[in-house]
Amino acid sequence: MTAPPLWDRGAQPERTALAWSRTTLALLVVGLLCVRLAPSDLGAGAAAAVVCGAAALQLRRTGRSLRRRGDRLPRGRRIADAESVLLATGLTILLAVAGILLAV
């Protein structure tokens, strides 16, 4: 696959994708901390599966979004991605709820 033509010199799509990767890493770290809190082995396994699945999903979305944006930006088409934003919000709230439940 060839790289899309450079759309802007500020490399904004790339920086945005990197911000997504950093956020996914933070999600992984916090998720694994939650796994550490799980009361049973089964719970820990399930939590680890959920955390890793969510991180994988977000990483895949990041890569796809970067490619699509490289394709759409030169044509001046819409690039807003409310679904990824909603997903990130939901995952963070889910982790927070898990943290609250496990703290008690």
């Binding site: 802007d8 500020g10 904004q12 799509p13 920086r15 945005t16 911000a19 997504w20 950093r22 956020t23 933070a26 999600l27 770290v29 916090v30 901390l33 939650c34 550490r36 809190l37 796809r64 979004s65 699509r68 944006r69 759409r72 930006l73 001046g76 088409r77 819409r78 690039i79 807003a80 991605d81 409310a82 679904e83 990824s84 934003v85 909603l86 990130a88 919000t89 963070t92 709230i93 982790l95 927070a96 709820v97 943290g99 609250i100 496990l102 703290a103 008690v104």
Partner: protein, 129 residues
């Protein structure tokens, strides 16, 4: 899933539904808004990490206070994530309508909240000693 896999936007149906009004702004503003949202989400995740960390710090803080602090940090993280989404949406809509951006109410709230939380944590640590 359905036959109508809309090629309109990478965000799918939700994007079309949430951002129906106005015109597409300069894409750089959309990307900057998304990165700002992500920075807030990371902050929220750090708060949750703080909550889980306090919950795991068994010997450092005594039980009732430890629970209160752990729940407080995690709840603050959830609240911050929700507010970050709200802010992203309001900013994106303001950009689309070419209106003034929403005021940065989140940052001062965060500073005061963190200051209070830090003081509470220090008091908790001192009380345990």
């Amino acid at each position: 899933m359905t036959a109508t896999r809309s090629p309109r936007s990478p965000g799918g149906r939700w994007t079309d539904r949430l951002l129906a009004e106005g015109r597409d702004p300069d894409p750089r503003f959309t990307l900057a808004n998304e990165r700002t949202f992500l920075a807030w989400i990371r902050t929220a995740l750090a708060l949750v990490a703080g909550g889980v960390g306090v919950a795991l710090a068994g010997d450092l803080v005594d039980t009732p206070l430890r629970h209160v602090l752990a729940i407080g940090f995690s709840a603050a993280g959830a609240l911050l994530a929700a507010l970050a989404f709200r802010r992203w949406l309001r900013t994106e809509r303001a950009l689309r309508r070419d209106e003034p951006l929403p005021p940065p109410a989140l940052a001062p709230l965060m500073s005061y909240g963190l200051a209070v939380a830090a003081v509470a944590l220090v008091v908790a640590l001192l009380l345990t000693r």
